[in-house]
Chain length 317, copies 2
Amino acid sequence: MITKLISKIRKTNAPIVVGLDPMMKYVPEHIKKAAFAEYGETLEGAAEAIWQFNKGIVDAVCDLIPAVKPQSAMYEQFGVPGMAAFKKTIDYCHEKDLVVIGDVKRGDIGSTSEAYAVGHLGKVQVGSSSYSGFDEDFVTVNPYLGSDGVNPFIKVCREEKKGIFVLVKTSNPSSGELQDRLVRDEKHSVDRPVYEIVGEQVAAWGNDCMPEEGEYSYIGAVVGATYPEQGRVLRRLMPNAFILVPGYGAQGGRGADLAHFFHKDGLGAIVNSSRGIIAAYQQEMYSHYGEKAYADASRAAVLAMREDIMSALHQVH
Amino acid sequence: MITKLISKIRKTNAPIVVGLDPMMKYVPEHIKKAAFAEYGETLEGAAEAIWQFNKGIVDAVCDLIPAVKPQSAMYEQFGVPGMAAFKKTIDYCHEKDLVVIGDVKRGDIGSTSEAYAVGHLGKVQVGSSSYSGFDEDFVTVNPYLGSDGVNPFIKVCREEKKGIFVLVKTSNPSSGELQDRLVRDEKHSVDRPVYEIVGEQVAAWGNDCMPEEGEYSYIGAVVGATYPEQGRVLRRLMPNAFILVPGYGAQGGRGADLAHFFHKDGLGAIVNSSRGIIAAYQQEMYSHYGEKAYADASRAAVLAMREDIMSALHQVH
């Protein structure tokens, strides 16, 4: 799947992933009205509204981008009907040949991580049949529990030719509280931040997870656009890891900050934008599209983001 | 909710939580057969089987225990129907007046953690109505993203009078890879493990989260039974935090290891057992119950666990 992701990035010339993180306040009135008319102001109504909202955006941008990243939390907030909308969104994106990164940030002890891996990337056995639970192509994984929590994902990835992105340095303001703490590295007699230690683990896990062709393992890393200096260090520490970069746009990351997350050939990273794309019509710059044409505004925002990133890459490399 | 948990622990004289982590291999044949007859060998069939399995256990042990802890992963592996069984289990446990700890180990950046908190502990607004998504009483939270990821949970807990357990030192063998790393503490000029740093954060978050009555905040911690020495240190570092202790039984923790997780009054911790209770009938000691009476075997295992823990507490304190 990492090979497919890279080939689609090359084809679209857009190292961009659109975060499908629907909140009710982003959904245009006409969509909510139709959904509530059919299902009432219920969880089912909300789930229908976010699914229709997603579908409009996917239809408008699917030829421009290689991948989408639905954020599980935004669906879980609507309970079981929300999870059904999550699954429907994943299936629809597959129909449109998009790579789907499930932003689930799961991670647990061995047997439990295995159940998460099976549910999101693999197939579960039921009697003599087997089924995909959610069927993403990649998921994000939290490293706090160590190798036990990550290895079951790697095992399923190997079987299913899928991949993961491990949280290394997250984009939020307080990520440093734990991730920037200096840890004693006895071997090298220096103090090094936690994110470097985790980055080295990602590199080590990836060594055994190279696809038959290509330079990137299917064990990637999450490093926030809001921390470009750390991105530069981590790019060097994990030369074969693809980096998923959140935090562009609404969270403050700019194109110029991103160059160091990429290799010189312009590959090695994929940049996520959620609100900046899916709620573009609510920004002044795109407000002339109006609510009804919200998906056209999203398309314009994807084109602008591609321009911003590609020009930053050309300037530096 | 922490007040209710403590009052139920006092009433049952059992600081025990039963982990409802159903795997198909634990479910007796007669339950699978009935579920598959109705729904086929499908995800719906599997979800029906684990729900009926849970219901049998809850009916058999609900008068003995204060709380249950369904593990989200074991339901997510069966996709959307699995999540419906998760919700059904939560609702049924509430009917039986059990405290429900959702073992979801979520954690993300601010707005996303807020959606998780709303979905699992709070209420989501849909038009002019509001709904509970999953409606647990407590959830487990991963601290890797720092305060940004935890504060939205605290906010919802305050509004809903619910609580969280933050992962501090997990029970699995590789938990030390990150959690035991020594971090430079400039203020005290010493090196201290990551789990102590996180434990201090839990204590600090808890200071502002005390219920109107009682000595325990509604910000608890997860510390594995498999690490009793660390449990002793953390008990001292977080005097007002309730500790959720996984790893008893199948993972190797014994009653004698648990004493240090408790305060001298016998409160302050609640010990989880999953496989050891729900699949008790598959152990030699309880095999005479047979598959059909699997729930009676679970009841016997709860009684034995209560005895083991209470006698360990009496010996030490």
